[in-house]
């Protein structure tokens, strides 16, 4: 039963690549937005907050369709990116990464925002009186103290990205070797008469990856907390 076929491997590796790239690219944006939401007051803050959380509450198929309209070959942004930068999302694994990044973004941002909100602002003031410019305060005080939250957000985002299905399949379809992730491979397999054992293998694989991510996140969080408060 645990003889994983090349097609299944392709789907597993693609899923990992899509989820890792989605998480790594989304994290800097996530940190920036989390900081804005935690530390700044500006007009439209609640609208921005709602926008970030939208993929969490919208039907995934709607998010996928909106991505298709925006980032597809004829979409407003997609056409421009293709013409000027040569970046194409439609029906490519990069599109899968974009869909996963968007869908997991709210889960990535939330722990980071909470951990930034929990940082004593008076420490940041103290850093200022010692000569640290605002960006230095961020780099040397805020970010290191928010690290457990950043790691938690990254792991949550990664776990969400690796399981994403609806938006991805709507946006970039289900092309083996290009956009067929574990989820869409399982979907295809259970629609095929003899696909049950193959589907079961992928199901087990996704459980293993999810468990691994959760254990890793717990380990990271504990280490980070120890580094911050212990000796």
């Amino acid at each position: 039963m645990f003889d994983i076929s090349p097609t299944e491997w392709t789907a597993i590796l693609l899923s990992l690549r899509v989820a890792i790239i989605a998480t790594l690219v989304a994290t800097p944006f996530g940190i920036g937005l989390a900081w804005l939401l935690a530390r700044r007051d500006f007009w439209g803050k609640s609208i921005l907050d709602a926008l970030i959380h939208l993929p969490l509450v919208l039907p995934p198929v709607v998010t996928g369709y909106l991505l298709l309209l925006t980032f597809g070959r004829r979409g407003l942004v997609g056409a421009w990116l293709a013409d000027h930068l040569g970046i194409v999302f439609a029906f490519r694994w990069t599109g899968a990464a974009l869909a996963c990044g968007v869908m997991s973004f709210p889960l990535l941002v939330r722990p980071i925002r909470l951990s930034i909100e929990a940082i004593d602002r008076r420490l940041e003031q103290a850093a200022g009186t010692l000569g640290a410019a605002p960006w230095q305060v961020f780099a040397t005080v805020t970010l290191p103290l928010a690290l457990p939250g950043v790691l938690a957000g990254m792991v949550l985002g990664f776990a969400k990205a690796i399981g994403e299905f609806g938006a991805t399949i709507t946006f970039v379809s289900n092309i083996p070797g290009e956009t067929q992730t574990i989820s869409s491979a399982i979907y295809s397999l259970i629609q095929t008469p003899d696909g049950d054992t193959a589907a079961a293998r992928l199901v087990v694989t996704s459980i293993v990856i999810a468990m691994g991510a959760l254990i890793a996140s717990e380990w990271f969080a504990r280490r980070a907390t120890k580094r911050l408060h212990g000796n």
Binding site: T140, P144, H229
Partner: protein, 225 residues
């Protein structure tokens, strides 16, 4: 020479204070809630005055009419807070080195040795703030502020969070600091005894207004404690 002439409204409370001081240690003396901390927060640049001017040695730090507000990190004014505010993720050595690194100052082992000796913190270098006693924390905070080479040092009730025996432990260090560190200080306290020991000039603050100014003898005029 430190010149302060500011007004600031904070809810129902308002500060209207004007003084100039040349003393080595200017004591801002007044009861809790008199506006002392708000005043030195304005000197540090953490709080913007509504109106007025703050200058140090002829350099304008705040001039509301001319829209001048030098941000805290460009003022070169050290600040020792009542609650130390050491960085919990850095050990004592890194805390002490923080100001030097942020200001891109050259390493100055002689000054570091002088400050660590003065404050007796040489044995704490590898510890995290979480493992220090209240008095040790306050001494490290003093050292951290001094090592950023400020031109003025603000001390906001640095003994306020310590119990009596700890206060007695820290006071001699503050006296040594005054006599040996050659950095002018503004010392905030509501404790007349501390003021007598440390301050060379007194600015008495009551309800956000300067009620008396002069040598240590103005303390006898009535103590808010």
């Amino acid at each position: 020479m430190l010149r302060v002439d500011v007004t600031k409204k904070l809810g129902e409370f308002s500060i209207e204070a004007s003084f100039a001081s040349e003393g080595r240690v200017t004591g801002l003396f007044g009861a809790s809630g008199a506006g002392k901390t708000s005043l030195i927060n304005m000197i540090a640049g953490l709080l913007k005055p509504d109106r007025g001017i703050i200058s140090i040695d002829g350099e304008t730090l705040d001039d509301v009419a001319a829209r001048v507000h030098v941000p805290p990190h460009r003022r070169r004014i050290g600040y020792v807070f009542q609650d130390a505010r050491l960085f919990p993720h850095l050990d004592v050595r890194q805390n002490l080195d923080y100001g030097r690194r942020m200001n891109k100052l050259a390493d100055d082992p002689a000054q570091r040795a002088r400050v660590t000796d003065l404050l007796d913190i040489g044995g704490l270098m590898d510890r995290r703030p979480g493992k220090l006693s209240g008095g040790e924390r306050q001494r490290v905070a003093l050292g951290r502020a001094l090592l950023s080479k400020p031109r003025l040092l603000l001390l906001d009730e640095p003994l306020g969070s310590l119990d009596e025996s700890r206060k007695v432990e820290i006071l001699p260090y503050l006296v040594r600091l005054r006599d040996e560190a050659h950095v002018p200080m503004v010392y905030v306290s509501h404790d007349a005894a501390e003021m007598r020991q440390l301050a060379t000039q007194i600015v008495m603050v009551r309800n956000g207004r300067v009620s008396a100014f002069g040598g240590v003898k103005v303390l006898s005029g009535g103590s808010p404690t």
